[in-house]
Subunit: 220 residues, 2 copies
DNA sequence: TTATAATGTGACCCGCTGGTCATATGACCA
DNA sequence: TGGTCATATGACCAGCGGGTCACATTATAA
C-alpha cells in the first residue's frame, strides 16, 4: 500500500503520477518498468517516489486495487439485466459490460492485463488473490447454471472455469488489441459489428459447454 | 542466423551453449534473458558468444527454427492417422501429438512459448512469420472441414482460426504448466486421465464450431 | 620451423537500474 | 522572529546489462 504522504498529495499531482505509472506498465510490463522513467514523466524527484511508495510492486498493487474497485462500481451502476436471465445470457452480459468498462479505461486495463497475463505468470504469485477472486466468481456462475439445469451436472467444474477464464482473457485481449487501433475505442466496442464478433466467440463456448456429458461420449 | 564459427564448434560445446540458452529463455523470457548468465552457464567467454551470434534474438531465432524443424520431423515420423478421418479427429490427433512432442522437449517448448505468448506480443514482430505459418495451417484445416461438410460454410474463417489458435495455446500452456509439476511428464501426458482432459477441452471447442450458423441465430 | 589465419578470452566501457541520504524547502506554530 | 516537522530533491552508490577490443591461444599450411 502507498504511504500516507501519497494520499496527502494534491489530487492533480497524484493523478499525474498515476498516469505516468499506467503508461509505464502498459508499455513495459512490471518487470521492465523503470522507476526513473516514471518519476521523469510525472515530474517528481526520485526521492519523492520512495516517499510515496515502497517500490514498483507497491504502485502496481495500488493500480490493481483501483481497477478492481472501479470495475465493481461500474457493474453496480449499470442496472443488472433482468433477473430471469439464462446463465449464459448473464455471462454474455458480464463480458460485454466488462468490455465497455475496458474501453473506458483502456490504458489501465492494458497495463494490468499485460502484467497479469505475462509477468504475472512467472513472477507474480503476489497477485494470485485477484485471479482467485475472479475464478471464484466464475465457479459460482457455473454452479448456478447447473442448479438451473442449463449445464450438464457432470461437467468438470475446474475445466468449465478454465474455459470461461480462457475466453474472458482471449476476448479481452482481442478487444484491447483491436480497439487500440481505432480512433474511438468506446464507439467501436459498442458497434454492432464488434458486438456480433463477441457474440460469436461466446456462442462457440456456450454450445460447447451446454453439451451434455452423454453427448460428449456419443460424440467421440 | 548464427555465424559459421558456431556451426564449426564441436557438438558437445554447441549443445552446452544451446542448453544454457534454453534454460535462460525458459526462466527469464527474451527481454530479461542475460547474455552474461548464458555465457557463465555454458562455460564460454562473453567474447566467444559474439563470435557465434549477433545477439540474443539471434540465439532465440535459432532455437525457434530448431523447434519448428524438429516438430515437423516428429509429425512425419508418427504415421499420420487413417486418411479418412473426420477433420476434428484430425485436429485432435494433431493436438495430442503436439503435446507428446512438447513433453519430449519441455524446456525448449517452455522457452519458446513463453517468449511467443508474452514478450512476443509486445516486442516481437520479428517472429510473426512463425505464427503466420501456423495460422495458415489452421486455415487450411478449416477450409477442409468446410469442404467436407463438417463445418458450417458460413462460419467466420478468421474467427475459427482464432478459436483454434487460442485453444491450442491454452491446452499447450495447461499441459506445460501442469506437466512440469510431474515426475515423468511424458508418462503423465500419455496417461488416460490427461488425455481425457484434453479431449474434453477439445470437445467444447468442437461442438461450438460444428454448430451451424442457423443454430447460431436460433440460439440467441 | 615459421607464417598466417581462425578462434578464444575477459577486462573494460557506458548506460541504466533500484535504492539511499544529506540537504533544502516551506508550512505551521509559539 | 525562531523553531519544528513533514515533504522535496537530485547527486550518489553499487550492481548488472549489452557490447567491444586488444591480446592470447590454437589450428592450418608451407
Amino acid at each position: 500500500m502507498p504511504k500516507q504522504t501519497f494520499f496527502n498529495l494534491p489530487e492533480e499531482k497524484r493523478k499525474k503520477i498515476i498516469h505516468a505509472a499506467i503508461e509505464e506498465f502498459a508499455e513495459y510490463g512490471l518487470e521492465n518498468a523503470s522507476i526513473n522513467r516514471i518519476v521523469a514523466n510525472s515530474g517528481i524527484a526520485k526521492g519523492s517516489f520512495y516517499q510515496y511508495f515502497e517500490d514498483k510492486q507497491d504502485v502496481f498493487r495500488y493500480l490493481l486495487d483501483m481497477l478492481e474497485k472501479e470495475k465493481l462500481e461500474y457493474f453496480k451502476e449499470k442496472h443488472p439485466p433482468s433477473m430471469n436471465m439464462d446463465t449464459f445470457q448473464y455471462f454474455r452480459w458480464m463480458i460485454k459490460t466488462g468490455m465497455e468498462f475496458n474501453s473506458a479505461y483502456p490504458r489501465l486495463v492494458q497495463a494490468i492485463s499485460r502484467v497479469m497475463l505475462t509477468d504475472g505468470l512467472y513472477y507474480g504469485k503476489n497477485f494470485a488473490d485477484v485471479r482467485e477472486r475472479t475464478r471464484r466468481g466464475l465457479h459460482e456462475i457455473i454452479a448456478q447454471a447447473i442448479a438451473r439445469g442449463e449445464m450438464d451436472p457432470s461437467v468438470d467444474m475446474d475445466l468449465a472455469v478454465m474455459i470461461m477464464e480462457t475466453w474472458s482473457n482471449a476476448i479481452s485481449n482481442y478487444i484491447l488489441q483491436e480497439g487500440m487501433k481505432q480512433k474511438d475505442i468506446m464507439k467501436w466496442v459498442r458497434s454492432a459489428k464488434t458486438q456480433e464478433m463477441i457474440d460469436k466467440m461466446l456462442y462457440v463456448m456456450e454450445y460447447g459447454l451446454r453439451k451434455t456429458e452423454s453427448e460428449f461420449v456419443a460424440g467421440s
